[in-house]
Amino acid sequence: MVPLIQAKSISKTYPGGTLANDRVDLTVMPGEVHAVIGENGAGKSTLMKILFGVEQPDSGELIYDGKPVGFAKPREAIDAGIGMVFQHFSLVPSFSVYENVVLGAEPRTGIRFDREKAIAEVEALSEKYRLKVDPLPPVGRIPVGQQQRVEILKALYRNARVLILDEPTAVLAPQEVEELFVAVRSLVAQGKTVIFIAHKLPEVLEISDRITVMRGGRTVGEVLSRDVDEHGLATMMVGREVTLRVDRAKDEGPVSLEVKGLHIHGESGAPICQDLNLRVRKGEILGLVGVEGNGQSELIEAVAGLRSVADGAIYVDGKDLLPLDVKARRNIGLASIPEDRIARGLAVGASVAENMVATRLDDERFVRRGLLDLKAIRAQAEQLIGRFSVKVGSPASAIGTLSGGNMQKVVVARELAEQPKLLLVNQPTRGVDLGATEFIWKSITGARDGGAAVLLCSADLGELLALSDRLVVFYRGRIVAAFVNSDELTPETLGRYMLGIETQSPETVRAALK
């Protein structure tokens, strides 16, 4: 069979001097799902933009359908039958779904826009490719998952034969990912070719036929999905052995964190958490499982001192936390990796060094008689940058210049600079690539082994199952199940409790929490 798309030795240097693609090769066969994987910054999007005519290669050859081509702009690529859905959508929020789909290629009768025909065509397309979406509401009002379908329909409406999806799953919830995969399979069944960019390996293995792996701007290999496993792919992608397996806690310490009968109310007075009871031992990670919005994050905020409590008590080593403010809690050994690093965890405009010292402004080492010891602050930053291998020009660089993974490492470095007694962790690896994920997981288990009691919340069940020693499931603000982690515990089991289909008896919960 002849390849549909062939990129040969493509190179691209951005005006800033970044060599984003370095003699990259890509071969896509017709009718396949071809995944392109690599860590953030590997050059995947750049390669796709070159295929789509958004960027021009400095050198190299592009062969499409047997003929050498060069797309000077997206229009030409679209006319040739290539469609692309970007990481950031380009839809008009105030326009309806069908208007967005046909925009620029509207069906007309005479010079009039034929509304009925447009709606009918959009409905037919959405039926045919199993991309369910209502054509009438404005795009701004539908969820992200559906907006993505609108983008795909837009490409299909323009008769795309090849569909490029740049990190489509990054914005989707797990169920939506499943629905996307159904659509992708139906596209391929009807003769389309799909190029699928991602960096989450399980989903790549599930959906793709063939995989091209990129690293540091180069292609490091092409493999058939059925020939590889997650571990092999991860090693290719990161360029070294990655172990996303972490050891369980070795021995159980005494109870450190104790939450008793905790009630939390929202701003309107509606209950968010009700009668929470849990205990976390020293050197143990307790995973908080639950669909987002069921009270896990609020519990973490309440323990951190960022949210008021309606009733109940929180003790750390027998000391009542509730009367203490954030600073006092930090002073007795609380550390916290917050859910949203940009909104909460960092001052993006300030420097790396300033961010790293921000929680230690009462520490004699860095501040004496109200004066900053800039030398000590810089030295501390340099030491943390080294210890947590943060990639950054200098401690004086602004946080805003770092990649997501490195920003997160700055947060982790600051919070784990000293061994905490109680560590709160919320979404530690959201939007972070594999290499950094591995590192952050190791840091968290390191703090655990140093004797910290850890509360971990994550939207990624894989992460919770990999790290937690025990798990509790939240549903509508209550703890409905508790488990001691084991290899038998599956995401499916947890899922039934997360959705409220099943509930354990209070005795079972208590027994698992001892």
Binding site: S45, K49, F52, V54, Q56, A72, K73, P74, R75, M84, F86, Q87, H88, S90, D166, A304, L306, D325, V326, K327, R329, R330, S336, P338, A343, R344, G345, L346, A347, V348, G349, A350, E354, V357, A358, T359, L361, V367, G370, L371, L372, L374, G393, S394, A396, S397, A398, T401
Partner: protein, 364 residues
């Protein structure tokens, strides 16, 4: 790390380029306006650009204005760095001036204590006046823009009333107080000019504000709260307290400017509407300086020069001094909108006369 590659210097270079470009555009537009309205545009424009240097006296006027613009610019820069939009400098200037006047007109005014005491009292009064909108915001959630603007009007009206009704010499109908005793007026650094203690105070204040912001814990807290108040809360930095203290400190600088006004050789007394709205122009100075204290005096130097040039142009030619508003508006527009200086691609496109490649699908 060399100067060329240090990101901070690169950024600074870009900023300076931007400010200079904004100034050039503003002057160009001003020139067109002068060209259209004046009988003798070359002379008028020439006056605008050179007049401050025409004599020792005019240079003194310029420097006096630079000192005042620097102080108000510093006060604004301080609250802006904490991301508080208190507009209260003008009110603080008025209460500061009023309290300095009380000292000057009291028996103490004729003693050696007059100046230090006047300055101190003015700063305390300004600080108290700056504290109010901060406290109101922290306590009742009152918007600081609104409350500080109201406090400005209040201060101006009260001071003007007090001058008219009580402080002006009775029966004269004057709109100002008596001249202060010599001990209550800044000594001249150069005889017969307005070179006085004001510029020294401004320079010292620049150093003090810079030190507070970048070398003390208070300054770091203030900047962190300004960057991201939610982060500050999470890190254990009390953001309300920091915010109030920033507004109070800025108030002290406002009060200090009030003292510099009434003790300065330009006045040596308290007069109605004495600041001619200069206190407000600190907003422009702070915005153009991107709230950086060390840049504030540089901006004040340029802007003060243009202001002085415009005033002299109004006296010596047929163009009214209001043209300075054009300069002001254009600079604010350009700097605040963070326009970028057109790069290579722009010029290539412009001179190719054809549609260059455009990226239609906005993606990253």
């Amino acid at each position: 790390m060399s100067l060329r590659t240090d990101p901070r210097f690169k950024a600074a270079g870009k900023e300076i380029g931007r400010a200079v470009a904004a100034l050039a555009v503003a002057l160009l537009v001003t020139f067109v306006v002068v060209l259209l309205t004046s009988q003798d545009p070359i002379k008028a424009f020439g006056t605008l650009l050179t007049a401050p240097f025409s004599s020792m006296r005019t240079t003194g006027l310029w420097i006096d204005e630079v000192a005042k613009l620097t102080l108000t610019g510093l006060a604004f820069a301080l609250v802006f760095q904490a991301r508080q939009f208190s507009m209260g400098v003008q009110g603080q200037v008025y209460v500061g001036a009023l309290f300095a006047t009380f000292i000057a007109l009291s028996p103490l005014g004729a003693t050696l204590l007059a100046l230090p005491l006047g300055i101190l009292v003015a700063m305390l009064a300004g600080a108290a006046y700056g504290f109010i909108p901060g406290y109101a915001k922290a306590r009742f959630g009152a918007n600081e823009i609104v409350s500080s603007l109201m406090l400005n009007y209040l201060a101006i009206k009260v001071v003007n009333y007090l001058i008219r009704a009580h402080l002006a010499p009775t029966g004269t109908g004057q709109l100002m107080t008596e001249k202060f005793p010599a001990q209550s007026i800044f000594p001249a650094l150069l005889p017969n000019t307005r070179f006085d203690l004001g510029i020294v105070i401004a320079v010292l204040s620049v150093a003090a504000v810079w030190f507070l912001l970048y070398r003390t814990r208070w300054g770091l807290k203030l900047r962190l709260v300004g960057h991201n108040a939610r982060f500050a809360e999470y890190a254990g930095i009390p953001s309300s307290l920091t915010m109030i203290s920033a507004m109070t400190a800025a108030g002290a600088i406002g009060g200090l400017l009030g003292a510099v006004y009434v003790h300065g050789r330009a006045f040596g007394r308290l007069a109605i509407d004495f600041d001619g709205n200069l206190a407000f122009e600190g907003i422009l100075v702070a915005i153009v300086a991107r709230d950086r204290p060390l840049v504030v005096p540089i901006v004040a130097l340029f802007y003060g020069y243009l202001r002085q040039g415009a005033q002299l142009m109004a006296i010596r030619s047929d163009v009214p001094s209001e043209v300075i508003s054009i300069v002001q508006a254009i600079i604010i527009l350009l700097v605040a909108s963070s326009f970028t200086i057109p790069g290579k691609a722009f010029w290539v496109r412009l001179f190719r006369f054809g549609p260059a490649r455009t990226v239609e699908a906005a993606g990253k």
